[in-house]
């Protein structure tokens, strides 16, 4: 008896964002079972675990999967990855999903131990016939919010924006790189302050880092720091309530609501969406259609893998249009966004 799918921690708008250009009838799909193994963040991490779970839930709802066909196992430490993955594999889930490069070793081992188990692996790559890897072009989406940050700062006569990362490694560096390029594309003289919290779950340190940046004259902070980013948002809210003018750019999902401080006013300028739910949804459907194949899929701007929210109350129409222009240039290859930040090279 598997755990029934718990209610969503918080109602989010992601579901409606799932794009499906190939609408099919429920009858043409097998009734599949899906299991998500989370890392220690859990399905409520406001980041990729949560996003993935929401994609799965959206699929289950849309195609009316019976209760209990989707389930998750949360890992309390990385020592749990393998037992949890083994559990689902033994339960013969039609599709097993895991997100985050931390799973790399474990997925490789499980993929070998259970060659019939279909696996969706998000954010890193394991080469195996039964693993479909989903990679996201975070740098492309980050480029767009970089543009937004620069436009907003220019408008306010400010010359500095900032980036707060969770931990300093490849995936997060892609956010940094895209943001920096986006900012400089609008205004080459703009300063971009870069810093990392060193942890995805230390909101207090995120807050302190934000305080430090704002005190040093940073106007807009783009955070890619998961739970630590909540501290960045909190600092901005506190400051705005004391009459200061500062902004935050959210990450992974539309964080507008998290930045609300008074009557629908939010410190969130815009957000960089990373549509992990899209990957979860797409892959579930592939499995249900018996079309699942190992390999790697890139979710970039073109594939609706990244982007900014459709509605951005804090951006002017003019800015939104500008951003859309840049987006089109990226889509058609006119602009190539480099995933490696300048400081690394």
């Amino acid at each position: 008896g598997e755990k029934e799918a718990p209610a969503a921690p918080e109602a989010t708008e992601e579901e409606t964002l799932v794009v499906d250009n190939d609408e099919v009838d429920k009858a043409s799909l097998k009734e599949i079972t899906i299991g998500l193994v989370t890392d220690t963040g859990g399905i409520d991490d406001k980041s990729f675990n949560q996003g993935t779970w929401e994609g799965i839930k959206y699929y289950a709802k849309k195609f009316e999967l019976p209760e209990g066909n989707i389930s998750f196992l949360q890992s309390t430490s990385d020592a749990d990855y393998i037992p949890n993955l083994s559990q689902f594999s033994e339960d013969k889930k039609d599709l097993m999903v895991a997100a985050g490069f931390l799973f790399e070793e474990s997925i490789a081992k499980i993929a070998a131990d259970f060659p019939d188990q279909k696996i969706l692996f998000i954010d890193a790559v394991v080469e195996a016939p039964n693993v479909l890897n989903a990679l996201f072009a975070e740098h492309e989406g980050s480029y767009l919010v970089g543009v937004a940050a620069a436009l907003k700062a220019q408008d306010a006569g400010k010359d500095t924006v900032g980036f707060v990362g969770g931990m300093d490694f490849d995936t997060i560096q892609k956010f940094e790189a895209g943001f920096e390029q986006g900012v400089l594309a609008v205004d080459p003289n703009m300063k971009v302050v870069i810093d990392y919290v060193g942890d995805f779950n230390k909101p207090e340190d995120g807050q302190t880092l934000a305080a430090k940046m704002y005190d040093a004259g940073v106007y807009v902070i783009y955070h890619a720091a998961g739970g630590s980013g909540n501290g960045v948002i909190k600092e901005a809210k506190d400051r705005v309530q004391n009459g200061e003018d500062v902004w935050v750019i959210g990450v992974d999902k539309d964080q507008f609501s998290e930045g609300v401080y008074a009557d629908g006013k939010s410190v969130i300028l815009t957000s960089m969406l990373k549509a992990v739910y899209q990957a979860a949804y797409d892959t579930s459907k592939l499995v249900a259609q018996d079309k699942f194949e190992g390999g790697t899929r890139i979710y970039d701007l073109k594939a609706n893998g990244v982007g900014i929210p459709a509605v951005n109350p804090n951006l002017t129409e003019e800015w939104t249009k500008k951003i859309e222009e840049y987006a089109n240039k990226i889509r058609n290859g006119e602009i190539m966004v480099d995933p490696v930040p300048s400081r690394i090279k």
């Binding site: 196992l73 309390t76 990385d78 020592a79 749990d80 083994s86 070793e105 131990d113 060193g198 942890d199």
Partner: protein, 364 residues
Amino acid sequence: MLKKRSHLTLSLIAILLSFVVASVVMLISGISPLSFFLSLIRTMTGMNLRAIGKEGFFNARYLGEFIQMAMPIILTGLSVGFAFRTGLFNIGAEGQVIMGSVGAVAVGILFKLPFYIHLPLAIFVAALCGALWGWIPGYFKAKFGVHEVVVTIMMNYTALYLGNFIIKALPGSDNQKTVKLAATSLLHSKFLRQLTGNSRLHWGFIVVIIALFVYHFIIEKTTFGYELRAVGFNKDAAEYGGIKVSSRIAYSMAIAGAFAGLAGAMLTLGTFDYGRVIGTFENYGFDGIAVALLGGNTAFGIFFGGLLFGGLKSSQTLMQASGIPLEIAIIVSALIILFVAMKNGIDLVFEWMDARKRSKDESH
């Protein structure tokens, strides 16, 4: 002092009480204790009592995973127990595990050796690092008379950060983990894996068995063990008898640390094959406290206590799968510590009941 009721009885009472309290918590929150116990049994025996006679009744992987999980806990239990026998409270096993892991990782990465040297060296260095981390508070206690509890708590955090620093500083590491250790340094076993349905069971259990015997042997059979026990029961008398109390305290903490260091080796050389940056404690040391208390600081008792805690820890997957918040396992562990700690109190309750019975008998 409890002389009348055996430690075994009190331990069983403590376990029973914790299960009762945890069951009440589960019932109040609308969760079936039965599923909890079935998960625990399934993890510790491999048998699914809900599927007797059906397919999937037995799964050897659970057994392998469970033993694999119990190994470091038995070792930290030995660590805490060893110190207890010398009258010392080693809250520092947590930090000693971390330092042991780090030591094993460093050897695994930095050296290129044939396995018959590499593996023993990695295990030895793990024990050594743990020993050092235990020796420091032991030495401070012996030399300056500072209490080991506070120092070991501080050493735990120091180990957490220092360990992460070293892991990141090793060649090839990123912010999360090191490169893979050389295969020659690992305890992994294809044979054991296949035997147990692809679990992560590894050769470490041999180390654990040896450690259990060594523990028993040192404590019970050697002059050194005699000295440690004398110091543990009564430092003043030990000193009077000519035993060098300070050095015994320092050695005892070092040996305790070595056991914990071995636990670190089990994790990095057995469970994993790379070194990890950890965000927070993984509670192997704290479980060790529970296990030592439960096992009455004997090798035998610690072995069984370690199995129980290993079972609790590794049954979390199945608990989740049956809709039980995995935290219930933590609650049970904590309650066991609490109830074992209350053994004086439990004894008092018995005494009080005896006395009441006696006075009743008298009044008749």
